[in-house]
Symmetry: C2
């Protein structure tokens, strides 16, 4: 039997890489960050992963106490995978990593994102100082997945639920919303990929809450800056 390949290093970062450094481990955690999912739901948010790799990663993440599997009550014969408290506390890692990486000179925009990662990106990138006295409930419906965001007292709170009480609701393709929030596009250009119900002024103001940090200089093809 094979000893799992591990850094033999007391550094906590090396241990982190031992447990979440395998391919697909962190994207799986990302998909669970806003609530439990079933095997097939996970595959839907992780295009390219194969069933056997997903199985193996779920076992390893469970062994590391990052997630637990729960069997749903009898009528539904399926299992769900849920992050543990400690697993959920890793969100700060995703936020810091995302904020650093979005400045990458080699990052190409336009690739598709899962509904969960779009919602997490908002929680990561929102500039709380711009919320001001904005007080609103915003709904999102991206295919099967629905989310509810509350802007209140300078905070931005998210949960995974239908927002019947939303002041504005985005319905359609999450990638269209990304193009507006981060790509400088206008809702009007999204045609029918994204529909807005409710307060369109609010939707417009919402789109100004997510400033992108400056890109880091490209040291390969560009000229190095004077340090």
């Amino acid at each position: 039997m094979s000893q799992k390949r591990a850094y033999q290093d007391g550094c906590a970062v090396a241990h982190a890489l031992d447990i979440v450094g395998d391919r697909w481990a962190m994207p799986i955690m990302r998909e669970l960050m806003l609530g439990p999912k079933r095997f097939t739901d996970l595959r839907a948010g992780l295009p390219g992963i194969s069933a056997n790799v997903l199985t193996q990663r779920l076992e390893e993440l469970e062994a590391s106490s990052i997630l637990i599997r729960r069997r749903l009550p009898p009528p539904a014969a399926s299992q769900i995978y849920a992050l543990t408290d400690w697993g959920r506390e890793s969100e700060i890692v995703f936020q810091v990593l995302g904020r650093w990486a979005c400045r990458s000179p080699t990052m190409q925009p336009g690739k598709p994102m899962s509904p969960v990662s779009v919602v997490l990106s908002m929680r990561t990138m929102i500039d709380r100082s711009r919320i001001g006295d904005l007080n609103a409930v915003i709904g999102f419906r991206f295919g099967e997945e629905a989310f509810r965001a509350t802007l209140k007292d300078g905070n931005f709170l998210i949960d995974r639920s239908e927002a019947a009480d939303a002041d504005a609701t985005f319905i359609g393709d999450q990638n269209a919303l990304v193009a507006v929030l981060y790509g400088g596009a206008r809702y009007a250009d999204m045609a029918d990929a994204l529909r807005i119900e409710g307060d369109r002024m609010l939707a417009g103001r919402f789109a100004t809450l997510f400033p992108l940090p400056p890109k880091a200089p490209d040291m390969v093809s560009g000229q190095p800056s004077v340090s």
Copy 2:
């Protein structure tokens, strides 16, 4: 020519994993975090890495503008690898990841750490509120590597240099210092693995600045212990 395996995902975290998610990439960045190093110095801090993998990672990290290679002036025919500004700004990722992972129920203490990772761990784990009005310069000499830490005005500043002006200096094996700072051992138990020059009272107080956060419960092998 094969396309490098990449997540086809617009998520910034997925991009981060594309550029620093390969095995050894982050440990290499860690070793460069406190200053440039040569190929052989890197190998010394990364036990287990093979020369060909190190070469390949250095090329990839350079292509991602995370590090640059500089050729030293003629007398020394060698190259050094240095993080770019943006590469250095990833330190917050290491800190957050380390703070999360050191709570892991499966992390086993006692494995060796490189001099750089020990010094970085101090910068990560220090509790600034405990510094108080402590005002001191502390030197470290771990084999070939020397560091200088300044405690002043509640800050903890590090650079890679000999500290001729140190109030206290630690000389010897960095793992012995780890055992004291994080393992609750006493300097006296380190025998000759760690020598302290200068103010031993200061060294004692220094060891109280690095509290460990509570472990996360192990969801696999046991009930969460009520300690």
